[in-house]
């Protein structure tokens, strides 16, 4: 089953205006009908909480109403339909297969809406390595657009991580890349080398919902640039910037009016079938390699304040 990753997340929010402004400021592009796209066409779609087109909300109040997974080809879509229709109802709607996973989250599958990207990576110069940039090519560009490139991953709060993980592993052929003991596994689908497109955190049932969603940025510099622009606009930095251990991705998380953390990530590890997953305890040491906090800009000067400059 050639599942690539999350294509689109659909939310039912109680503050549409604030949510629209947030997603645009975050860097997504408003393409109409309250759909906000990354550069490759992966998207977040907003609806009012009581919009009749939305599936029923979870009792927990989570604003995430459906996760649409993108698949590579029709054969995969057919295989998913065959597999899941064994034990649940599947609604076919406009090329999408709509159903629920074993945790009760509304999910869908479609031929991916992702457009192939042909964009440069962040290029660096490093002693001993071939230069990443030509002479006179400047790296520090404050005017860089720094737009999210692709919907990277989602992290659910789930009441039974084993039930949830087994559904994606046994039924949809996801594989475990790493594991936090007693918290949950990181999962990668067949048609994506990213360390994770799906992670879950074991919680009591009253917490079921979305811990965060994340989009890939070009690299750490654009992640820092986009995040510092968010801070400057008054948005609430929650965690980061820093760099995770599992997945190696740089991260910066923000609160959002969608009632979930929204993360920028960059430079995640790729894995293939040869990888053997690691396991570690969830905790501050394991959750990141290092962690920083944004502060006001500052510059060095010459003498202490009021001590004058060059002698006359």
């Amino acid at each position: 089953m050639r599942i690539i990753g999350p294509d689109e997340l659909i939310f039912g929010v109680d503050n549409l205006e604030a949510s629209r402004a947030f997603l645009v400021d975050y860097g997504l592009t408003d393409v109409g009908n309250d759909t906000f796209e990354a550069l490759d066409g992966t998207a977040i779609t907003l609806r009012a909480r009581d919009d009749a087109s939305l599936p029923a909300a979870l009792e927990t109040g989570s604003m995430l109403r459906r996760t649409i997974w993108g698949v590579e080809d029709q054969a995969s879509l057919d295989a998913i339909e065959t597999e899941l229709s064994k034990d649940r109802e599947i609604v076919k709607n406009d090329g999408q297969l709509l159903t629920k996973d074993d945790a009760g989250f509304e999910i869908g599958f479609q031929l991916t809406r992702r457009r192939p990207l042909d964009l440069p990576a962040e290029m660096i110069n490093s002693p001993g390595a071939k230069p990443g940039r030509a002479p006179n090519e400047i790296a520090a560009n404050e005017d860089a657009e720094a737009k999210p490139r692709s919907l990277s991953h989602i992290v659910y709060f789930v009441p039974d991580m084993d039930v949830m993980a087994n559904f994606y592993i046994d039924r949809l052929q996801f594989v475990i890349t790493d594991k936090f003991t007693n918290t949950g596994p990181f999962l990668r689908p067949q048609a994506n080398n990213d360390h994770h497109v799906l992670f879950m955190i074991q919680t009591p049932p009253y917490m079921q919902g979305l811990e965060h969603l994340a989009f890939h940025m070009q690299g750490p510099t654009e992640l820092m640039l986009a995040g510092s622009r968010m801070v400057k606009k008054g948005y609430e930095s929650f965690w980061g910037p820093g760099r995770h251990k599992f997945g190696s991705n740089w991260f910066w998380y923000f609160n959002s009016p969608l009632g979930t953390h929204v993360e920028y990530d960059a430079d995640m590890d790729h894995h293939d079938g040869d990888w053997i997953h690691r396991e570690g305890p969830m905790g501050p040491e394991q959750a990141q390699m290092f962690l920083f906090e944004n502060v006001e800009k500052w510059a060095p000067g010459g003498p202490p304040p009021g001590k004058g400059g060059k002698p006359e």
Binding site: Y206, E236, T260
Partner: protein, 126 residues
Amino acid sequence: MSNWAARELDRPLCRVADLPEGQSVGFDPLDEGRDTMFVVRKGDTVHAWRNLCPHYDRARMAWKKDEFLNGDRSRIMCAAHGALFRIEDGVCEIGPCVGQSLTPVPVRLHDGALWIVGEYAPGFRR
């Protein structure tokens, strides 16, 4: 440099008349660089809470400067995971910390100004 110990403040937070009715406003009483508390004025009453969601240690709650409420401003909302709290008593009615409460900040009104009563402890993780 600032002193990061809890201390009494020698100045009020604001003039009560400057607080918009039914809206939230964040404050940083110890100049820590981030709002560590917020208030919501309802008529003559000012409800004051620490900017700490009981869900995670030191979890900050707004989604933007001064934005601590849900869409229709009927509840305090933690914009980390959508937990909803009653404005009047800080009890979480739905969300990750259901049944738990926000930490109140004792305040009093004096000569049209809003003061914190007693010592105020830093709230920023460092």
